[in-house]
Symmetry: C2
Subunit: 139 residues, 2 copies
């Protein structure tokens, strides 16, 4: 359960998340501050401590998790990019009452590219195949 906002990421925060996400497969144990600094800090001319501060804050916001590795911390993303995105979308939608939500979804689709719509349909179909029950009425 996130304690702080956890929504909108800053530019650097996002870059750090990207780094953690893209290296998650190759490094499931996570990345140290040094590694993250090398990956996204050096090219931006940032100090090592800057990345330390940012990672520390992100841990407090539950955006990343950390585990001790010797005297260093290893950071991993707390959610996948897809999860975070989905969460953010739900958060946005969640501010709306039922009837408006429907309207927002319609708008959303209206402004979607055909590809997105296809993706959505595919995702719906996929979901359908896993849970054949429409669920109507199951609150």
């Amino acid at each position: 359960m996130p304690s702080t906002p956890r929504n909108r990421l800053g530019d650097l925060e996002r870059a750090v998340m990207e780094e953690l996400w893209t290296t998650a497969d190759a490094h499931p144990e996570g990345r140290t501050v040094r590694e993250v600094h090398d990956a996204v800090g050096v090219e931006r001319g940032l100090a090592y401590t800057t990345l330390m501060t940012v990672l520390d804050r992100m841990a407090k916001k539950d955006l990343v998790r950390r585990e001790r590795d010797g005297r260093a911390w290893r950071y991993t993303a707390a959610s996948t990019r897809a999860e975070l995105t989905s969460e953010s979308m739900h958060h946005t939608l969640g501010e709306l009452a039922g009837d408006t939500r429907r309207s927002a979804l319609l708008h959303f689709l209206d402004e979607s590219t055909p590809e997105e719509i296809d993706e959505l349909k595919a995702a719906l179909a996929e979901l359908e195949s896993r849970q054949p029950d429409t669920g109507r009425g199951t609150v």
Copy 2:
């Protein structure tokens, strides 16, 4: 074209938008600062000028539009709640590359209530009936 972020609204900003949205039908000409203050400011013990400042800033961010009415301004929401929500959702999704986007959509659906899914399906059907072309391949 919005000049400033225009995303995440503050609490008061949101309350103001709510007020403008919910009274849009009854007052298409918009609302004056005084009216908005009476509606959302008084109960919070806010000064009239506070609402003035906030509305002024919101106008600069293109969240609201304003038109002169005598020497006062009349404010109207620049987008409907549904539009703004949809916009925000697209903004979130837009940060993702195609393959991740698909995954995010799947997650999104996964975490949706059956009601939301139904709404989405209905919206899709509605869209379908307006634009029978699937669009696949049309970049």
